[in-house]
């Protein structure tokens, strides 16, 4: 999120103010701790997504229990029950799966297509570059969430549509990042050498340029993964993602909004689950970007 090159200015500032060098080392250790904690939180959600709610709670997230309607958090239901007497903890755990399917798939699709477009545009240059960039500009006329709303609402709610919509809005971002990195590489002697020895274009792109922009691709992938979790939860909140009754976090928050004053735990639990996952992924992406940016 911070502009590229911030790492270099950080380094220069440290060299100038010598007394802050120790602080810099302390900061490095502090960042490692943050990255480890963030990684643990993200890994925990992945485990929950893979194993499901069953291993962690005896309650069935779909089981309605009228006598427990709006049960307060306590021994029977650790974080309470919703308007149908369903266990909130079980629903939050079950809600991890949709987001963990949608976000990585959408990210993977966006990164593959975006890298292909960015790499080819910069590597070929000329009219292809011009046309590709103008098309990407046109796609980003609308704020991406509005374009996604338009599309998902009209085409209908399904997991596949959600993945395609999120991927489509991320392709221009990935393509621009990869194109910028490829342009830097194109100016280097090894590319000129490859061109002079008559290496075919596809080989130049895939064998020479791609391995040298892989750091950018990796950083784009992690950053977009955080954004994809954000987008998937938001679109579900808007009622554009999962079918009604799904324990998906965004959908649950939206569904329980009416019980705000009566049973705040039914909204707060899924909201905090989203927050923990998105913040963990964002911190991981930030740690990775710093490592790649560091000289």
């Amino acid at each position: 999120m911070v502009s590229a090159g911030a790492g270099h200015t950080d380094a220069r500032a440290l060299a100038v103010v010598g007394t802050e060098r120790m602080a810099g080392l302390a900061r490095g250790a502090h960042r490692d701790v943050v990255a480890v904690v963030a990684g643990a939180v993200a890994a925990a959600w992945v485990v929950v997504g893979l194993l499901g709610w069953r291993v962690l709670t005896p309650h069935d997230p779909a089981l309605q229990n009228p006598s427990d309607r709006f049960a307060r958090p306590g021994v029977a239901h650790w974080i309470g029950a919703d308007q149908f007497g369903r266990d909130v903890l079980a629903r939050v755990l079950a809600g991890a799966r949709p987001v963990l399917v949608v976000a990585p798939l959408a990210t993977a699709l966006a990164v593959v297509v975006g890298t292909a477009v960015g790499l080819t545009a910069a590597g070929l240059g000329g009219w292809f570059d011009g046309v590709a960039m103008r098309v990407l500009d046109a796609v980003t006329v609308f704020p991406s969430i509005i374009a996604a709303t338009l599309f998902a609402a009209l085409v209908g709610r399904s997991r596949l549509v959600l993945i395609l919509v999120i991927a489509a809005t991320f392709v221009p971002i990935v393509a621009r990042g990869v194109r910028a990195a490829t342009l830097v590489e194109c100016a280097k002697p090894y590319v000129e050498a490859a061109r002079l020895r008559g290496e075919p274009t596809w080989s130049l792109l895939v064998r020479e340029l791609l391995p040298n922009v892989r750091a950018t691709v990796l950083v784009e992938a992690t950053s977009r993964l955080g954004d994809a979790v954000f987008a998937a939860a938001t679109l579900s909140f808007l009622g554009l993602g999962e079918p009604p009754g799904s324990p998906e976090w965004g959908a649950t928050v939206s569904e329980n909004r009416v019980w705000l004053t009566l049973a705040p735990w039914t909204l707060l639990a899924p909201a905090l689950a989203i927050a923990s996952l998105v913040v963990a992924v964002a911190l991981l992406a930030d740690a990775l970007r710093r490592r790649v940016d560091a000289p």
């Binding site: 999120m1 911070v2 502009s3 911030a6 200015t9 950080d10 220069r12 500032a13 440290l14 100038v16 802050e20 602080a23 810099g24 900061r27 502090h30 943050v34 046109a138 006329v141 609308f142 704020p143 991406s144 969430i145 509005i146 709303t149 338009l150 599309f151 609402a153 009209l154 085409v155 209908g156 955080g226 954000f230 939860a233 938001t234 909140f237 808007l238 009622g239 965004g250 928050v253 939206s254 909004r257 705000l260 004053t261 705040p264 909204l267 707060l268 909201a271 905090l272 989203i274 927050a275 998105v278 913040v279 992924v281 964002a282 911190l283 930030d286």
Partner: protein, 319 residues
């Protein structure tokens, strides 16, 4: 190139981009599955009445003809009538746009000084605890969807403390103070969404400026820190952040959809979503176009401000 000709060139590009956008909006809205007349009349309607309504809505004509007549109508201010809300689309959309711009404008007015102050503070205390606290919060809040922060705000300040209302819908006939009271939580929610990103940019450029030779020279001359920040750092560190502000405006506009839905506020984002759900095509097309146009104008304004603030760009040939 002068400011005037730059402005003219950029303004001239807007209708072209909007034309492209109109094709996009029209294309998305006509490929939708499901018959519009069937949706309006319901499952039990006879085939004959569906055909009549389709003809009334002009949906039986070829697509290019439909597009051209829609575009001509849009340009001449005839935006059609909303079949589901039974109101002229233009009044509805412009009314809602005004309501949304009020919220977005308030959020912007709060966002700029807060983000600048936090970014400068973090940059000046680079790598010490104020920086760590602000940078960490900025990263976390920027990554958190606005409906999540919104729900936390609602639970704490509306449901538990009861300081603010649950709905942002102002009481009819009440004064501006009542309106501000209703809008506080949505505005705070939008500010929290965008503040982190801008603050991180201000921080990064502050750190860079503080490490630059002229600031070092001023420090060695013994200039007091307060004056150093005022005369050397403030402007040089904040100008690059203007472009970050432009990026955040996209977030702000997009965030409107979510915030309006969460806080039950009658804005254009909520209208866009509602009309998309109801397959209310004229309203959907008009609100998407209006939002697109508003977005482009805002981005242009941010670009212009950036260029006016930076004398190097004002004088140089890089317009």
């Amino acid at each position: 190139m002068t400011v005037g000709s730059y402005l003219l060139r950029r303004l001239a590009a807007i209708p072209l981009t909007l034309l492209g956008a109109s094709l996009l909006v029209f294309a998305t809205t006509v490929v939708l599955p499901g018959n519009v007349a069937r949706t309006i009349l319901g499952r039990e309607a006879s085939d004959a009445s569906v055909a009549v309504l389709n003809a009334q809505l002009g949906l039986d004509r070829p697509l290019p003809a439909q597009y051209l007549s829609w575009l001509a109508g849009f340009l001449t201010g005839d935006w059609g009538t909303s079949a589901t809300l039974r109101a002229p689309v233009r009044d509805l959309v412009l009314d809602r746009l005004g309501a949304s711009m009020l919220v977005a404008g308030l959020a912007f007015v709060v966002l700029v000084p807060v983000a600048l102050a936090l970014g400068l503070l973090a940059g000046i205390h680079h790598d010490r605890w104020p920086d760590r606290l602000i940078s960490g919060m900025a990263l976390g809040l920027g990554a958190t969807p606005e409906f999540v922060t919104g729900v936390v705000l609602l639970v704490v300040f509306a449901a538990t403390l009861r300081w603010f209302p649950v709905s942002a819908r102002p009481t009819p006939g009440a004064g501006p103070l009542d309106m501000l009271w209703h809008l506080t939580l949505p505005v705070v929610c939008l500010v929290l969404l965008c503040c982190g990103y801008v603050a991180r940019h201000v921080r990064a450029s502050t750190v860079a400026v503080l490490a630059s030779p002229y600031v070092r020279a001023a420090r060695l001359r013994g200039m007091p820190v307060g004056r150093l920040v005022r005369t050397h750092v403030l402007r040089n560190a904040t100008v690059p952040a203007t472009s970050a502000l432009g990026v955040q405006l996209q977030f702000l506009l997009g965030g409107l959809v979510v915030v309006e839905l969460l806080f039950d506020y009658p804005g254009i984002g909520a209208l866009l979503l509602r009309s998309a759900m109801d397959k209310d095509l004229p309203t959907l097309q008009a609100s998407a176009m209006v939002l697109g146009a508003a977005y482009m104008l805002i981005v242009l304004a941010a670009d212009l401000v950036y260029r006016l603030l930076d004398p190097r760009l004002r004088l140089g040939g890089t317009w």
